[in-house]
Symmetry: D2
Subunit: 346 residues, 4 copies
């Protein structure tokens, strides 16, 4: 099998990471690479690391340039996916569309309106195969909404404890430090090198970050109790990587052993989620460029609170790796094809 | 007035920062600089930034080399302060000793034994003038226990809300990202440049960090309710700086306005604590080398949780700046003397 | 004496560093702070580290807003100084203007046209007091062209060897690594945090950088032989600091001793230039926020080449510190007033 | 074919990078992983990024534990390779030994004694296939001396110009900035995170670095004229990557075109050396984790000097990638097998 794939938004960080992974995929032929303002320039100007594709010329993002591929990845600025995918679907009824944007992630229209504003475009199968039952829904699908980076790592960190009823899902606290590539490649004053090096800063504090309802939506699927998350993202001086520190009060009877067992049960067979040996805590460096999440869990006995720490590369498992994982499932391929398990460290 | 001061542990990071500040202090004459294994070498080899003191030779740390000064700062590895200060006190009854170590911070012997082990050395006046009533206890004292860096920033972040009864002190969560200088200068594998650059990692997770009881001790002074803190420190790739994200469920009736008012009331007259204008969030870079803590507070209305973020330089207000601030108080000088309000940014 | 000073371009990096230094200057009263697009906003939004000035409102940059001050510092984007200073001079005949831009640095109109293009505005007294004879020219002047950051560090590194005839000035090679703040605060794609962290890249290679003729102009003042410099700047992942590695073939008879002696002779009495003890090599961290240049020199005996390495903070001695140093000279104050000798490290 | 390989020194950075590459090699079965002080511990403790090998237990490095493999990689501290390879060769006459250390790189015993001291162990086929004629010498060999990281990037940067007689090989200047992983994983004070972040510093200045004679040896193979290199390495705040700025006076008649042509001729068919399009300069980030060198060349017309800038990952093409490339050649496999062309950026 050879899938002809297009990448819309190829000049951005998500687009670059998609192409890094796809260029090593044995069942993929890379077709159109599209962009907005950068159309007409060579890919190598934007992504000098993509040596074998450096001479490829970017074309305009449009339904016409994207039609005729087996799979189209959308790695576009927020809010563009709904329109382009509607136009593309009208032109090409057999294409599989995998959207790295937020447009189709939320199920509830009210949550969309509250956090994003404007009209809710609907929702597509959610690209987190590690959610209970979700893997089967992704097999053979032709539409995928790839999860946000923070929701992926936060959900995977909290899921087993919430699902097993070991913590109170109404008192979840997540503080996630992140590299700055997650904010995209468009030049912004607060993301300049001199601003971020040697500095840490929180943003979207107090529940303002748009990834909050997505985390709650995911965890709400495995519990009947109300879920509420206090989520604070913190920018730190690194290009890639997220480290999420997640905690919640434990329910009566929860022990260190029952907690750990819940994580072993949940992830023992997951190829991309690794519970570390006891006593070893995750570091983002170990996941750089890999499609893995590394986890550790403990119980603060003194105060009765479970603490779970998870590390992940925001561009790989947090975006482009998840997208390729979903493409593999959608196309009936081995789910792990072309996805690195090994990070680049130090 | 001219105070003759000695610094024990002058070759380390806390010692270096003390000397940076003291070298610009108009009422200070710098006397003995002592060290352990580095005795006999020039200070400039260890701290090339201390240009005017570069040729000073380090002498052995001992009660004899430290006696005869008006003020002695102890910036020693954990556990050495109790012995050396006892010997020094026996030799020199008029000396003021300001300890940057942990030995004399905790009041309860049981907390000491649980978190540090070994014998509790006792407790000295705690060097956080911003605690209610504490400033007066530091005026004229001849012994000071300088707070830990995490306790300083966490306490100042949570104090007004706890004191005013606006949050539940039994459900406090603190996740604090820190530069690596806080871990000291002794070579360790996990603190090597190649390990920490491009990586974030949590440590002391689950209540294991020794600064936990110190935070609880401080906040317990302003409330009658039980205080419990879930504290997780996270190392991130920067040399200096701590950003603490602190949160707690609000009590009934707490509003965004009452929260903010509590912080304005508490810190309106504090020279080193700055509540930022609404909407502006702290960044550690703005406090680099300054003796300031920058704060912002908000209420996550959706879930009823107060979130406070605080930035501070762990070596300045977190250690050496606080020590000089306490010396100023102890010696009857202007509390702010020789302490920068302005950070070095970007 | 109290000098009323204005800063034009107060929202940029050079403006911020000027204000950091000026806010601690005992003979300065800070007057108008001006900006372009940021006029009308509070300084604290742009420079949260400038706590005591955070509430000051930026006004439009114009001759009118700048007139009426004793000293006006221009920290403007390239090419704006000539016009504004001409207008200001017409309005206010007694003002001292200190220009941090390039407009008045080059003496030769041809060099200006070749490297900058457009009309040469003329030249002002060059603000490098360490150049032989230059200090006297700066005393009492009312116009100063502050040197570029690379020319300052490169000139000071090479000057003694060139002046003493110990190296061939026609074969100078300078490779200078720099933090990214030197490129300014305006958002640019290649200066984004995710681009610069974890990466090093050269720019302006092959003699294209505009600081090249300025280095040659400086060194040409101390030798009759032709001077030519191969200059390559390299961006590395730090916010501040320049480390210049400079080398040249030695002339016949040059020894390690004669080289070192030339540097000791040249800089023995200079307050801001520090030749390190033999065997100790400069690191930029030691100069962070200080107005110092740290130097080391050696002779590669095997190949007959002198190698000099110099470290400096591009924003302090490289820009704003030099400007204040020149103001001190121009106003008849102690040259070192309000200028830190001690850096902030680590 | 399946090669059984062992890695001696598996807990270090070179060992970790070898295992990252070898774990994806289709013709390799990973055998013994050996270490010194870390023997008996799990690999995952040292290299959490090597997820599939995390549970493998390190054994003692000895001829006995290494014997019986098809290929043995030595990634040992300097000076241990000669002994262990002699013992291994005595035990196992068919093993291929690929040494990442310096022991067998230099041909001239005098150069060895001058720069390394002690007895010269001899020399093995030099593992830089891009040197003229060298690829054929590596095919089928059973001993390889993998080049040093600085010599690889400096040689590849200067080779075409020297070989074509376009520059004076007696006046070569190389200033190479490097990430700190090149200095290894053993804890050292000057390599601690707080020391290297935010700082740049030169070392081994004045011809003292041991890689100097290796660069001269390589370039001496393609010219009859005397070769002399002024080499200065500079540590900058990144974990991986080298950017070498190389320059030399051009010979009479050299033009921008002839220079560029020489590089196109030399590297047009090399899989791992990429001359960038005119005007685009290398950045180390683009080579992270890849086995590529990216190059750009220009002629500074004004002063008659060629300037070549080259970027490379010190651990991949600079060490472990080169070692695997040589194994592929030695074993008769496709030279590019399991070697990434695409870096991980940003």
């Amino acid at each position: 099998m050879s899938l002809k794939v297009a990448v819309a938004g190829a000049s951005g960080y998500a687009g670059g990471e998609l192409l890094r992974l796809l260029s090593g995929h044995p069942e993929v032929e890379i077709g159109a690479l599209t962009a907005g303002g950068s159309a007409g320039t060579a890919l190598g100007l934007h992504h000098p690391h993509l040596v074998p594709l450096a001479g490829r010329i970017l074309v305009e993002t449009s339904a016409e340039t994207l039609a005729g591929h087996d799979v189209v990845f959308l790695a576009l600025p927020h809010g563009q996916s709904a329109d382009i995918s509607a136009q593309l679907g009208a032109l090409d009824s057999t294409v599989t569309v995998i959207d790295c944007g937020a447009d189709f992630r939320l199920i509830e229209a009210e949550a969309w309106v509250e956090f994003y504003g404007g009209k809710h475009a609907g929702h597509w199968p959610y690209g987190l195969p590690e959610l209970p039952g979700q893997r089967d829904k992704l097999r053979g699908t032709n539409r995928v909404a790839v999860p946000g980076c923070y929701p992926t790592v936060s959900t995977l960190a909290l899921l087993p404890a919430v699902q097993a009823g070991l913590v109170d899902p109404g008192q979840l606290v997540v503080v996630a430090v992140s590299g700055t590539s997650g904010a995209g490649k468009a030049p912004k004053a607060h993301l300049m090198g001199a601003e971020v090096m040697g500095s840490a800063t929180a943003y979207g504090v107090g529940g303002a970050h748009r990834h909050t309802p997505e985390i709650e939506q995911n965890l709400g699927m495995v519990t009947d109790e109300p879920v509420s998350v206090s989520f604070t993202p913190v920018l730190v001086p690194m290009a890639r990587g997220i480290l999420a520190t997640c905690s919640a009060p434990v329910t009566s009877g929860t022990t260190e052993e029952s907690l750990r067992q819940a994580y072993e049960d949940a992830y023992g067979n997951e190829p991309f989620v690794h519970l570390l040996p006891e006593g070893q805590w995750p570091q983002t460096q170990a996941t750089l460029g890999a499609n893995t999440v590394q986890l550790q869990v403990t119980l603060d006995q003194r105060i009765g609170r479970a603490v779970i720490v998870a590390a992940m590369d925001n561009l790989t498992k947090g975006t482009a790796g998840a997208a390729v994982q979903c493409m593999n499932l959608a196309a009936g391929l081995d789910e792990t094809l072309a996805l690195p398990l090994v990070g680049v460290a130090p």
